[in-house]
C-alpha cells in the first residue's frame, strides 16, 4: 500500500493561480511591483544547535547575527543564518531537508566529534516569506521596532524581533543589490503575518509574487 503522499501545503493560502512545485502547493502569481512578497515556505529549513564558539560553529562559518552562502552543501546553494547564540538555521531547496540534515550531522561528527550538536528538521514548522524592493525596510518599519538601517542591519544581517506582534526571524538577503528580507515565524502564525505585511504594504504598492525554484 504505497500511497502517493499528496501535496504539502504552506500555512499561507496561495494566491491564484495555484500550481504544484516540488511537491508543494504554491502560488503561480507573478508580480513586477517595485515591492513584492513571496511565500517561500516550501524551502527546506533545518535547525541546528551547537556550542556558540566551538568547532562546529567554525565549520559553519557564520557567526551569530549574520547569514551567508559560503557553506558548500552536497547540492549547491544553502543559506546559513546565525539566528541565536549557538543556534543556526539552514535554508535549502525544497525536498532537501533530509539530505541537508544528514550532511550536517556528518559535518558535526567530522568537525566537532566532542561537541553536543543537534539537528532538527523544521521545514514544516516555520512559515517563511521574502519581501524585496527599495521600500522593503519602510514596510518593515511599520510592523517592527528593530533598527534596520544599513549600519545596524546591513546585507547578511540575521536577527530575531517581533513583526506585527509575532516573534519573527529576519534575514537581510539582498537580491542583485535590491534590499530583500527573509522572514520566518512558527507555522501557525504564517497566514496572519503574511496578511499583516500585505495590508501594511498596500500603500507601498506591494505585489504577491509566487514561489519559483530553487527559491533560495
Amino acid at each position: 500500500m504505497s500511497e502517493y503522499p499528496g501535496v504539502a501545503r504552506s500555512p499561507i493560502a496561495p494566491a491564484p493561480p495555484v500550481r504544484v512545485e516540488a511537491g508543494w502547493e504554491v502560488s503561480g502569481s507573478r508580480s513586477d511591483a517595485p515591492l513584492t512578497i513571496t511565500d517561500c515556505t516550501p524551502l527546506a529549513k533545518v535547525h541546528l544547535r551547537a556550542p556558540w564558539n566551538g568547532a562546529m560553529a567554525k565549520a559553519l562559518g557564520v557567526p551569530f547575527g549574520r547569514a551567508g552562502r559560503d557553506l558548500e552543501g552536497p547540492d549547491g546553494v544553502w543559506l546559513v543564518a546565525g539566528s541565536g547564540p549557538g543556534e543556526w538555521f539552514v535554508f535549502a531547496p525544497p525536498g532537501t531537508a533530509g539530505l541537508a540534515g544528514g550532511w550536517l550531522g556528518t559535518l558535526a561528527a567530522d568537525s566537532a566529534p566532542e561537541e553536543f550538536v543537534s539537528v532538527v528538521d523544521l521545514t514544516h514548522g516555520r512559515a517563511l516569506m521574502r519581501i524585496t524592493g527599495p521600500d522593503a525596510a519602510e514596510l518593515l518599519a511599520r510592523l517592527c521596532g528593530a533598527d534596520l538601517h544599513d549600519d545596524m542591519a546591513p546585507d547578511g544581517a540575521a536577527l530575531r524581533s517581533a513583526v506585527a506582534g509575532v516573534a519573527t526571524d529576519i534575514i537581510r538577503d539582498d537580491r542583485a543589490g535590491v534590499p530583500s528580507y527573509l522572514l520566518h515565524c512558527e507555522r501557525s502564525s504564517g497566514q496572519y503575518l503574511f496578511g499583516a505585511l500585505v495590508s501594511a504594504g498596500e500603500s507601498l504598492g506591494i505585489g504577491v509574487d509566487g514561489f519559483r525554484l530553487p527559491g533560495i
Partner: protein, 958 residues
Amino acid sequence: MRLGPQPGEEIDREQAFTFRWNGAAVPAYAGDTIASALAASGRRVFSRSYKYHRPRGLLTASYHDPGCFFQVGDEPNVRGAHRLAEPDMDVRSQNTWPSLGFDAKAVNQLAGRFLGPGFYYKTFIRPQRLWPLYERVLQRFVHAGQVSADTPRIAVDKRYAHPDVLVAGGGPAGMAAAVAAARAGTRVMLVEEEHRLGGHLRWGAAADLAALAELRALVAATPGIEVHTNAVVAGRYDGNWTAVVLRGLPGGTEQLIKARAKVLVVAPGLIERPYVFGGNDVPGVMLATAVRRLIRLHAVKPGQRAVVLTANAGGDAAIADLREAGVEVARVLDARAGEDIVRVHGHGAGQHRGVRGVQAADGATIECDLLVTATGWTAPAALLSMAGDQPAYDPRAARFFPRQLPENVLATGGIAGDGSHEELIAHAEAVGREAARRAARLRREWQAAVPTRAPANGNGHARLPADDGEPEAIPELPVDAHPELFRASTHGIVDFCEDVSSKDIISAVKEGYDSIELAKRYTTATMGPTQGKIELVNAIAAAAEATGRSIAETGTTTWRPPYAPVTLGALAGRPLEPVRYSSMQPWHEAHGARPLIAGAWIRPDHYGDPAAEVRNVRSRVGIIDVTPIGKLDLRGPDVPRLLNLVYVNKWSKLGIGRVRYGVMCTEDGVVFDDGVTGRLGPEHYLMSTTSSGAATVWEWLENVLQTMHQDWAVHITPVTTAYASMNVAGPASRDLLLRVTEGVDLANEAFGYMEVRTGRIAGVDGCVLWRIGFTGELSYELHVPAGYGLHVWETLMDRGADLGIEPFGVEAQRILRLEKGHLIVGQDTDGLTRGFSAGLDWAIKLDKDDFLGKPELAWQHEQNGTSGARLVGLQPDDGSLVPPEASQIVDGPRIAGRVTSSRMSPTLGRSICLAQVEAALAAPGTQVIVRLPGGRLIGARVTDHLAHVDPEGSRMRV
C-alpha cells in the same frame, strides 16, 4: 477684512472657495485657517467659554488658541486657528445651544458665585441616588464636540524610526540645528508643529523673510533630513523614545511615529503669554503674535482702532505691522516705562460682543475695537521636563530656562536664551554639531554591541572607527531683561480653556490649596486643552501672589505626555491581533465548524451537535484536530535528568518507544502543566504539554537549563506547529489506521497503550503515532509533518467513511475526558492546587532525589490529606441538573469547595462533574450540597473514582 497682498503671506489668492460656518457660507483662500477666514469675513466671536459660556474670540491665532475649538464635520475639538480651511467644510461651534449668538447656557454666569473653583467637590455629591441625574445635567454643559458612531474608522499604520538626531521645532534654531547635524553625517528628523517651517520668521519683516528663505533652502538641499510639518513631538520617554504625531492625513486621521532618537534637540521657540486683567477674554483682545500672524500670513486686518500694551520687541513690531495694515494705533502703553492697563470694556452681546475701549492705569479711557498685548513669553519646557529637567525661573527675563539636561538632550533657540538672529543661528548650529557628535558616539557603541554588523573581511565583525572629537563649544546666549508682567490691578481670566480666573486661584490658595500642584487640581487651571502652554506662568504667579512666595519658590507643575492631543486612532494604529490556525483549518471552515477562540488559536468547538460527536466516538470512530497541543523536541544525553527534575514522577527507565504521563509543579508544589512524553530514540524525546502551556513550559525548561544546569547537554526545540496533530478515537480507530499506516505493527500486543512509534501515514514519512488517549477509548494521536496535515486528515475521513468516522470538536472532547475523569490543568486545578489535591497521589514519587516542588509536596503529604482540597468525581442526585462550573459546595454556612467541570454526559444520560472539596468531604459516597447561582441548593454524591465511565480503563487498552 482682507488686506492686499502681504510679503510672505501663506494664502493662495488663486484658489478661492467657501466653507460653511454654522450653516452660513464663508469665503476663504487656500492657506487660510478656519479662524483666519472667519476673521477676514468680519466675525469676532468664535466660541463660548467652558463654564460661563462667555463669548470668545481669537487670542493667539495659533494651534493653542483657546477660543477656536470647532466641530468640523464629524470631527470634534478641531483647533480652528490651525486647521486649514477646505472647500465645503462644515464647521460648527461647539457646546452652544441654541446658537453661538444666543447661547442659553450663558445663564451659568448668573450662577457664577456657585460655580467657583472646586464647586464639583461641594455640589453634585448628595444625595447619591441622584448621581445619574447629575451626570445627565453635567453632560449638557460639557464643552466638547460630538462623535458619530457612524464615523468610518481608518486604521493608519504606526511607524518605527531611528533617527540619530530628532529636532523638535522647525523655527530658525531648529532648522539650523538640523542642517548642522545632517552635514555632520547623521540621520536627522525635523518635526514642526505648524504647517510650514520657519517659526516666528514667517510673520517677520523683510530681513526675517530673507533669512527664512535661506534656511528653508538649506534644509531642502541638505541630504539626510526627514521633515515633518503639521506634526508634533508628543512625548519623550526613557532613552529618548519619542512619540511623533503626524496630523492632517486624509480623512483627518493622524499617524504615530515611534522614534528612538539617539539625541533629542528641543527647539520649540517661545509661546507668547497673555496678560491678566478685567475683561481680558472679551473678543478683540489679542496677543501681538496673533495680530502679526493675521496680518502677515493671512492678510487679515484684525481691527480698525487699536491700543497696544507692549513690553518687548515683539510688541513693538506688532505696532509697526498694525500701522502698515491701516489699523489706527490710538495709544501705545509701554510697560517698560511703567504704563499699564486696568481693564477692557466690552459692548454688545452674543456674537456681537467685542472690545469698545480700554481703561489705562493713568485713568485714561481709550476707545478702540482691538487691544494687543505683548507682556511676556513662556518657555514650552514640556519635553525638557519629560527628560527629567526642572526648569529654573529667571526673574530678570520673567521666564523659565532649562537647568540640567541629560546627555542625550540639548536645547536651542528661544528656550535657551535670546540674542540676535546671527547669535541664535550660531548657537543652533553648534548644538546641531554637538548633537551629531554625541549621536555618532552612541551609534558606534550600539554598532559595536550588535552582532548583525557587516564583517570586516569574513573573519569577524568590522572594526569601527575609534571615538573622536572634542565636544563642540556651544556659545552662551544672552538673556534679555523683561519686566515681570502677569496681572494688572484687576482680576481676569488665567486659564481661558477652563474659565479659571486669578481670583479663583487666590481663593483656592486661601482655602488651603497652597501649592501649585494642589491649586492646579482644585481649580483645574492648566488642565484644559492648552495644558498650561499659555496659562501656566500666570497661574504660578497668581499662586505666588496669594502665598507671598516668589515664582521660583512656587515652582511649576509637572509636564506629562502627551504634549498635544493625540487621537486614539493614532495610538491604536492598525489592530495587530495575531491569530493561529492549524493545517486543517480550511477543512473545518468548509464543514461548518463553530470556531472557538483559545488564546491566539482558532479551533473547532463543534460541528453542530457535540453530544452526537461524543456518542460517535464511544461507538464508532471520531477524529479531532489537536494541533495546538504543545510539543517540544528534546535531544541530548541529559534529557532524563531534566525530565526527572521537572516532572513529579520517574523517567530514568523510560524505554525507547514508551510513553509516560507527567505532571509539572512549580517550586511551591502547585500543578502548572501536564502532558505525555515519549522516547523516540536513545537521546531523543518528544514532550507534549497543554495547549495554553506550550510557551510557558518551554520557558520553564530553558530556565532550568540556563540558570540551574548549564552543564546539562539538552537541546529543546519547539515543534508545536511543525506537526499537524490529530487524535483518532473510538472502537474502530485501529481498523481505520490499518488502512493508511505503513511501517508500524498496530496490533495491541505490538503497540500497546502508552507507547509511541514512527512511521508512514497516508504516504507521508516522518509521522509520530502515540497510543494514548484523553477520551477513554482506544485511540491514537498522530503527529504528521504539518504541510501534509490536510492531506492526511482528508485521507482519514475518506478511508474511514464506512467505519462511521466523524469529526469532533473541543466541546465533545471536554465531555469525553470528563466522563473519563481526566483533569484539565487550570480548569480542575487553580493557582493554589498542589499535587496531592489534584488526585495525583499515584504520580508523585517522593522517593526521587529531587524534583521541582518536592519540599512542598512532601510537606503536603505529611498532612496525610487532612489539609487542603481534594479533586473528586461528583454526580448530582438529580441527573438532569447540570450545575454551572464554579458552583459552590457548601457545608452549612461555609464554602467547602467548588464544581470545576460539569457537563451532561451523553454516554450516561446524566450530569457528571469534577470538583475540588475539602478533604473531610472527599471520601467516596459522601453526600455534599451544591449551591447553584441564584441560591438554590442541590444534593450530589462523591463518586468512587474520578472516572464516571470505564474507571478500570479497559476500553482504551484493547
